[in-house]
Symmetry: D3
């Protein structure tokens, strides 16, 4: 008999936080994708980064810090592990990480399999370029809406010879018919730019761009209302770039921009998405090596939990319907 | 003749901040407890911690950083060292730190002696479990009220075989008749939970629990008003857990919870306690090893100074009456 | 042929951020002061510091992090490098750094030469004592106004035998007829003091002192209005001490004070200076060794960019007039 | 089909090092203890620490860093995963971590089950007090020999009311008949002491104590020879305390002592144990929070690998015999 | 007149170390490649990294720390700036950093231009894959010899779909006829491997592989003798990977291996190359984000200086001949 | 009764290391200089630093870390607190820290008083310039000998307008007749120089300069023999600059030089001074802000303890004679 069989051997999810293997939220590890409603999945790829690489180590550290997160969202009462079968389904397999386009293809293959199993993916980056292959898997049938919380619109153009870097996934997604710009809102945009029309694509395509200054004036509640107005009742994806937070809250990221959201504001924004028809979400750009205190991954794990909660509500709701 | 006798040898409390021994606020060191009104005292014990230990090193580092604090509170004009005889009265003596219950007894012994001398204690943790033995010394005659600023209610149940850990002092205190739950307010509560009724004790016993979301909506001023309403005119204790602050402001702590107070909000809250009949206070859970920048202990020292200021006002007021 | 001559060899200011020499904002390096409208200049001197030295390394690290800043201010649309000829004009030369008064003289000599060339200086400290010799160069003809964002009024008295330390430049500046106290506003003042009348000089001379508590109540917009009322239409200098920010945002500084501004609030305050007749500015007291994450210099570089933007507008406006 | 079934989906042990769950050496996770020859097991307990706690987080971080270790020992040619079935068998279960004696009992229970399965344990601390309960499981039949690499003999007396702290496991082990002092060598001993006879027990009982100064003079080879002479052919345990290394190599530990071994010397010492009849080993006292660079856990993982290699040779040899 | 023209304005190379722009060794900045004997050149590319990226930031930080290095090598008396015209010739231009093979082509183009100007290159990585394109420029006429100090032979095979990653430049170089394996020595090799024949190419091709254990036994002097024997009188390149150093000396690197060289041993090894016909050298794999103390780049700058010294001797000697 | 009077309240010097005020070695605090044989004294002054300031914070952090040091030197058996009355006699008082020459005068005044009381000083810097005023107090009667362990001879010339900076104390000391160059040995010298004759003064005056390379060849024992030969039987002072250690062991210092001593070598060297007629010693240049791990101050405290041990032997010996 191993200790595993002891009656008093507690549930992995409620043991002391320093014990055992760090799966996401200490949920079951299910690389075989069986019996899973929501699959939390790492995408350890940062080949699309333009300046500070290192988000390939994001999933590892977020898993580690996610042990600090408990089972129930105290603010909303949501218990995602009760609403759904949540599992850590491993990392997207990238056999050729030295090459950007092929890597995106491999990531898409993984997400194709996830989607085929009827699993709602909750992805952990990796750099923001990985959202494009996720969309290719998740939105192949119809364009989807998006609530996008980020310092950057990521609807840029070619950069250094590539059109698939981490500053451009959403222009590509619109061009490929995966993302409905009219049902897209981008919140927290800020920072200096080299081209005053850098986010021209967002504006021209009809995305709702809420710069940081507008957010500061509107406040959280009105921003939520506007986001809900934009995305409406259709299927929606939430993409959360950790650099939407101010570097004081999340220094460990590739493209930090001063003057961002607080962690609390970010949490409240995501809670405000409750009831939407969420079909997937991601939390990207945690680059642990730039944060010797380890806080960024901890913040990322908490944001991921908020995403899990609203996603689990959506999954449960769809099940009923 | 030593330099001590030089006329130009400045007051320790106004020398350059890097000079001399770091007593709390560079106040006199009085382990003999003579001629002291307010005794700032370390409680270097973290045997009640459930995850990240290290707050036993809190008093040392807070003493060190407290040299940065000067004599007068610029915001309120309070000069605590003029209002009262403030001293660093050393550390509570814990002869058997490997055992929780006995350690609490030893801590209580120290505080018994402090209280017997008529000294108002201002304690620096150590983990939050130490507030229980402090209460046993300070509230033995009658239950007291409390303003409790924290991410957690700390009114939990048994955990891992112990009912005296740092997540449960206040349920024990109520059970022992030391704390009046009707005159208790808990501010800043947040974070995920494993049991939706985790703080059932707080609610059932009649404590006023102000979750972070409510605080965010009310703002500082209304929160202060509510706190004053709850605790009323009777004797009140202020217990400040550094994890009430957001990890961006205080990463060096045992149970960080994303989405917390800013340092300024915390300072304003404590200043709002001016005029209350404060009979003791603590600032706990600074765990320096989790903060390579050293900021957490500095923030803790400043919070401690705010506590000192409102406490010194209360002591002076009682003297007059 | 070197790669310098390749047509595809991009503008230094838009290359990847990790490439090449880190001049301020990757602007041209012009130690000869020719063809420059705004000269960004380091003042690597910290001989006036009272506690934690190290801001002599500030210019180096701010230069390094300033590569993260791009060409255009997205929030305001200002493109300073298009409005003006911006250059990195090197560091002020201090031949005898072991001596405070002589060092100030050397710094003034450098700024005299800058001003003689008709260059508007944007200085990067160094400690705050360096603003005095800058004023001696820039305001020798008439007293100027000032928007001063700082945790401290820096209008103190003698300290440890010197009247020229980093806590006193502005009392000296008024005494020398360089600064008009009636056209001076000081924003963000806070922290404990050893003398309740520490900033008596500010109050007596008629400066508008806005303590942090007042700022918290007024908010950014009303503070901007008040600042504009105080300084009026005359020539104005903006002096930004990084310790105006809360240590969560900028831990790497000599005299951190808990309870300060956020980076966003600071950015908005400076943007609110648009249209004023700015004749110079500085950003001081970044001491990199106290911040292992490197964030403080990054925040400093972004604040410097905001200062550059409003200064470039003023320069362009004066050119037209 | 999940990616798990893809032919090109590589062996977990040779995937990129940032991918997947960090079991020790990315070996299989076998909490059920089936089909295991050598069980690498975490003992996340630091309740026996006398100064700086935190080694409860050691197993987690060593697991994480152990992904950097590959399959084969290049220096010796040993391929432990080929010689034996190596598995990560989880963490020892400590239901009551607030109490030292009971915790040791729980740890022993775990190791009893491991030993009953015929598994050779390779333990990762936790503090050094955990070796005592391991011995109670592994040496219950007869006293064993030990090669002990450490800055401290850990044969101390009562401290602060306890005789089971991390400075005393080996005096207890001798007293309980678990350890044969005549077949015990302690290497690397140094540091200041409060009692000149602190390690009297070691000397009186006949242990071979090699102080750092002697090691420095003898060098690695002669030290190995002496160690082999002392332990002879009988069953031997290797206990490696990370504080045997100089703090330059391993700052993240509870009781650092200046003037220690280099990592290379430690590696060579362990390799010198090849051929001995090793029946178990541990690597203890990695306390990650004291090392912002993360290096200590990485060094610990490499030392653990050396222990694994010589242990696997012993297991293979016993199988043959 | 600017301060540049002041007679007392000191030589940039002897000003205080915190002043001015950080070119390598504060040597002149000559992107135009005119009047240069030895060109120190950054290669900020890390697209060939298999685990921890970030060496693209290496040249920046090495430049910064190189200001700590003075003009003359005290140990050898060599004054490289007197022997040769040393310049910082900027960074190799990589227009398409997202793609490995094309990036190598671009790096080669830069070095082609350098070689065409008769400049001896001293390269600062970047990851070790960049040595291959350097060889393509520098050794196109005939195979060269090499002294290679590293933890890894870097003569590996395909990895994750690429044959040009940072673990394989030297097998490629031999295959392309650029490197003479018989005149190649590799020193400091160690670490675990996934394939016992990982460095089969080195052995089969006739390179002299000196594993760390052999180095430990031989010592510095005999190792130097062996290196000189192997490379002989012909043209030789020195390639220094910072991971040859133990992580205690250089934690900030992509593939740290425990048990390495000390900084002093590395310095002595390079000094031992005096008199060889050195035609180029590199110092690679400094990844600053993994070292919060900043020491790795400082060590790297000092190693680079040793390389500069022996290279300048070779250049001067060839000039005479 | 306070806990101070409890029989079981242990001696401050043997309490847990995190308890109480951090005097040096937890020795008594005696600012009045009464009943002291050896006075450990801080000199928190860094006004003579040429690059990285911050050693003014050295005494504070060394005091803090010195609690880790116990009563007896295990390697030598020396128990300094039994041999002598050791006390922490506070910090040298520098009323005007902004001015170098006057500060030196103030430091001398303090040491004059110490020497007048017959106290042997053990000083903790501060920068190395402070040894000059110490010599002026301690050697006013006759020149003394010195064992000087350092990366730099510190016998330089004027630098940036001053002849009293931290690179020149010993040329001044010889010129003033305080130091006998013939009885002076300097060990560990290394690093690049701007002037090949930088240490001409050392050589010309007859000091024995042992460069690092010679030390590496001779080894510890022969170096000790040579040091003893040079200083002979006369009065000798030991000056230990923490930058003699390699930056891997002590990164937190003002002028780090790669390729230095290990901590163990330094300990052995000082132990080799046993029996000499030591009349004073110092340990200088610990600058804590450059070492986020805190190790440098810990190493410094241990070196200081070695100095205390050999000094206490000398004091005891003189008492007998």
């Amino acid at each position: 008999m191993s200790q595993k069989d002891l009656p008093e051997f507690a549930d992995p999810m409620t043991r002391p936080k320093y014990v055992g293997l760090p799966t996401f939220f200490r949920a079951p590890w299910k690389e075989d994708l069986q019996d899973v409603d929501i699959g939390v999945i790492g995408v350890p790829f940062d080949g699309g980064v333009t300046n500070r690489p290192g988000s390939r180590h994001g999933p590892r550290e977020v898993r580690n810090q996610s042990s600090l997160v408990r089972l129930i969202n105290q603010a909303t009462g949501v218990a995602p592990h009760e609403l759904c079968r949540v599992a850590d389904i491993g990392d997207a397999w990238v056999p050729s990480p030295f090459e950007l386009v092929g890597s995106h293809k491999a990531i898409q293959d993984t997400f194709d399999r996830v989607v085929e199993q009827g699993i709602v993916p909750l992805a952990v980056g990796g750099d923001h370029s990985v959202t494009l292959p996720i969309f290719r898997a998740i939105a192949k049938d119809r364009p989807i809406g998006m609530i996008h919380i980020d310092a950057h619109c990521d609807t840029g153009d070619d950069y250094m010879g590539s059109k698939f870097h981490h500053g451009a996934p959403f222009s590509r997604a619109v061009e490929e018919g995966l993302l409905d710009p009219k049902r897209t809102i981008q919140i927290g945009i800020r920072g200096s730019v080299n081209d005053i029309d850098l986010w021209k694509f967002s504006h021209d395509s009809g995305m709702r761009v809420m710069y940081m200054e507008e957010f500061y004036k509107l406040g959280v509640e009105k921003t939520i209302a506007e986001a809900r107005r934009v995305v409406g009742d259709g299927p929606v994806y939430i993409s959360f770039d950790i650099d939407s937070l101010d570097p004081a809250f999340a220094p460990g990221t590739g493209t930090p921009e001063v003057g961002g959201l607080s962690s609390l504001e970010a949490q409240l924004l995501i809670r405000g998405c409750s009831g939407l028809d969420i079909i997937g979400a991601d939390m990207v750009e945690v680059a642990p090596s730039f944060d010797p205190s380890g806080s960024t991954a901890m913040v990322g794990a908490n944001i991921l939990f908020e995403l899990l909660c609203v996603t689990s509500e959506a999954v449960a709701k769809r099940r009923v319907t």
